[in-house]
Symmetry: C2
């Protein structure tokens, strides 16, 4: 087939949108180890999880065998409000870099939540409604996930309480207001509304809170409220499953034009966007049908893959979640306050951790001033002001494109532009004012945090 000229933006038609999520685990010869109950160090059961999450989500969480899972029609309809999202050919960035590389990005930011998070929020709220629940709880840090779940809950008519990391709720009053406009109740965390919150406040009255602590509070409320469950925006397998819609759309769009990426790059916090973006490509690699280089990009200030250890750890600070085997810095690790934006979770998706441990994927860490430099260049050439998280992927895409310039090799680079930076202008101000600095945790800091995990490792 003769190559067609590639437009600036490749949009699928609504008929071409995926009707199934792709379940990457089905193609992993070796699955990741199961979640454990911290009291018994035995695998958690469905029943354990069903106190916390709605049933459909628990089934998906534990389904390691079905390669495809149908997307209910109602969720497809919700997706149509903001999907398919475009694959953009970064013609202007290529020109500015004077690189022989072809650069593409899958842009997930064209919705009010400002990111890919809505893909899983739509599913989680839909299932909750289907099961007759009346409310959800969740936590949010940078705010995209809380906004996404607020939007989905407003659409399906569910109440939502969002525990927002206190320092974020103070620094990002506008994020909070978006959630309120969608009807969500936003509670700065730690709060005096939960036992965990009160304990943390008693010990650290001046704390700005953390994601791990907000998770503890949200789970506590969910399990103690009738007809209420908890929704999580990343890390877990069902979230990665929902996010596979990103990669499936991307692959369909690129296939239409005969484009095969050499390198696929995504930022990695909890891992859901990266897992979703790479899913169908990784599937081909796992099945031996094609090869790709995958690069997870994380902040140097919160480097779970590149400097963490592959151990069992809690999902939260309050230690009320099950244990997951993942690359982690330890659930007590706190990224430096000078770190801007998201990607501040101490652990990493169990799926991605396993794939990384099995060498199917590379990881690099980058410092934030270099990230914002790439963000600024991208904004000026491609017109989109990226989220700081997304700019991590931009940084490495630019670096790879510049390598191509040196070597003269024309590689095809695909990266995930997960969102926009419209609520991150305080961080941009710091950068514009020349007041941004980098921070790299010391080995001692990481070791100290990891030590606390030793009692929770099962015998080999």
């Amino acid at each position: 087939m003769a190559k067609q000229p590639i437009p600036y933006k490749i949009y699928l038609s609504e008929d071409e949108m995926p009707r199934k999520w792709y379940n990457l685990r089905a193609d992993m010869k070796e699955k990741h180890p199961p979640m454990l109950n911290p009291a018994t160090l035995k695998p958690v059961t469905k029943e354990d999880l069903k106190h916390v999450f709605c049933s459909a989500v628990v089934e998906q969480e534990l389904n390691q065998t079905d390669r495809y899972i149908d997307i209910p029609d109602e969720i497809v309809s919700f997706y149509k409000m903001y999907r398919p999202s475009p694959i953009v050919r970064a013609y202007c960035l290529e020109k500015a870099l004077d690189t022989p590389a072809e650069i593409y990005y899958k842009f997930e930011g064209n919705n009010t939540s400002g990111s890919h998070k809505l893909n899983s929020a739509a599913a989680q709220a839909y299932y909750a409604k289907q099961e007759g629940l009346t409310s959800l709880t969740t936590e949010t840090g940078a705010g995209q996930w809380g906004t996404a779940l607020a939007m989905a809950c407003a659409f399906y008519g569910l109440d939502l309480t969002v525990f927002m990391v206190k320092v974020s709720s103070e620094q990002k009053p506008h994020r909070k207001e978006v959630m309120r406009t969608y009807g969500a109740k936003v509670v700065p965390s730690p709060s005096d509304t939960t036992e965990t919150g009160r304990k943390i406040l008693a010990a650290h009255p001046d704390t700005g809170g953390s994601l791990g602590c907000a998770i503890s509070e949200a789970v506590e409320v969910a399990v103690n409220t009738p007809n209420c469950r908890y929704g999580l925006g990343s890390v877990l397998d069902h979230v990665v499953l929902h996010q596979s819609v990103i990669g499936m759309e991307a692959k369909t769009a690129l296939d239409k034009y005969g484009v095969k990426p050499d390198i696929i790059i995504g930022c990695a916090g909890g891992g859901s966007n990266l897992g979703g973006l790479i899913a169908p490509f990784m599937g081909e690699k796992l099945r031996g049908e094609a090869d790709y280089r995958f690069i997870a990009v994380e902040p140097a200030s919160c480097p779970s893959l590149t400097r963490g250890k592959y151990m069992y750890d809690f999902g939260d600070t309050g230690h009320i979640t099950p244990l997951m085997k993942m690359y982690t810095l330890g659930s007590e690790f706190m990224p430096s306050p000078n770190h801007a934006g998201g990607l501040r979770y101490h652990g990493m998706s169990a799926i991605l951790s396993k794939l990384y441990d099995d060498k199917y994927m590379d990881a690099v860490s980058v410092e934030q001033t270099a990230v914002f430099e790439a963000a600024e260049k991208f904004a000026k050439t491609e017109g989109i002001l990226p989220a700081p998280e997304s700019a991590h992927a931009i940084r490495v895409a630019v670096d790879e494109a510049l390598k191509c310039k040196e070597t003269g090799k024309k590689k095809v680079i695909l990266f995930g532009l997960t969102g926009t930076g419209y609520f991150d202008l305080s961080a941009y101000k710091k950068y514009n004012d020349g007041d941004m600095s980098d921070y790299i945790p010391t080995d001692e800091e990481i070791e100290k945090s990891l030590e606390t995990l030793e009692p929770f490792q099962p015998a080999e």
Copy 2:
């Protein structure tokens, strides 16, 4: 042709994007009266205008005869970074309203400027670069136009100084930061950097500034700086021309599906988005080929069409621009400080003013609490958090759809969703907190402001 099912979003392909702007004036049997030099009350010449605007723009401003004007390839390429914009079928809003009406909106908010303003910014910056200029100046109130011109100037490598209404620059530090990220210099207005600014500051040291005053400062700097011109984001004929890309895309997309709107609704501040949206439809009406009902929606607090007079007035407060015949509240009119968002300009596009005066178009005014109520409903059902300006059009679209519910008539409604409200969360907070109120200026206020214009009316 059998009607195809209508998708949630109709995207044109890049090949289907317009290559020409449509010049509505060519089809107006009676043109609007010319701009006048305030000193002589004689029509301004090209030479007068070329001190202020770049030449290509002046030619377009005064071209009342060519029906189509080519869009340079370079501008088409710029447009491809964020266009074509979708026509969205508001299935979810229709369902929530339980109306037989079909509702469509043309969504111009999917770009970092957050609005349609980029359509004219791209053109003005391109022409400035072509003519060897090195910098532009402009003013901004709510901030969309300043952001749009900052993006376009960054892309073409031009310096930009934005005079930002002081109260806006204080209330919207994040808007300011977006412009800075794109390399623009943002000066709160009134400033001590211009003669007009110093005069106003001397007379009113505590003023929060106004759009009219910021225009005066920007023009003053442009005419006194080598290789510098001024760019305006609305009101003038060349801006309406550039914005015709909105209507042309909309018409092409709807024609593909055999959809003919009965009612076309847009918010109106200076008039450029409304003029652009309705352009090709109004062209058909002017040529007697089709009929549509057009509705301009303005805030009750700044009602130039519905309560202003059709007179000659200045474009700015400092009285350094030419006189334009337009519906106006008088260049000294200041909307109440309780008015949120844009749509606060005292006058209205000369083209739209003439069409309104000739009864080709209707106008209604709406109060802001009702506007935010519609915005909230829209956000919850359609997922997009609208700009307060755009929500004026939503309000009237909803009202018209509810009329259809009463009468049982199935009308087809098209409205312009000009932008997103991501930088308007202070206003949403006011609404969410129940602290928003309405303000309607008294007849005396308007009359007093209009009295000052009497010396500037030419003899009949």
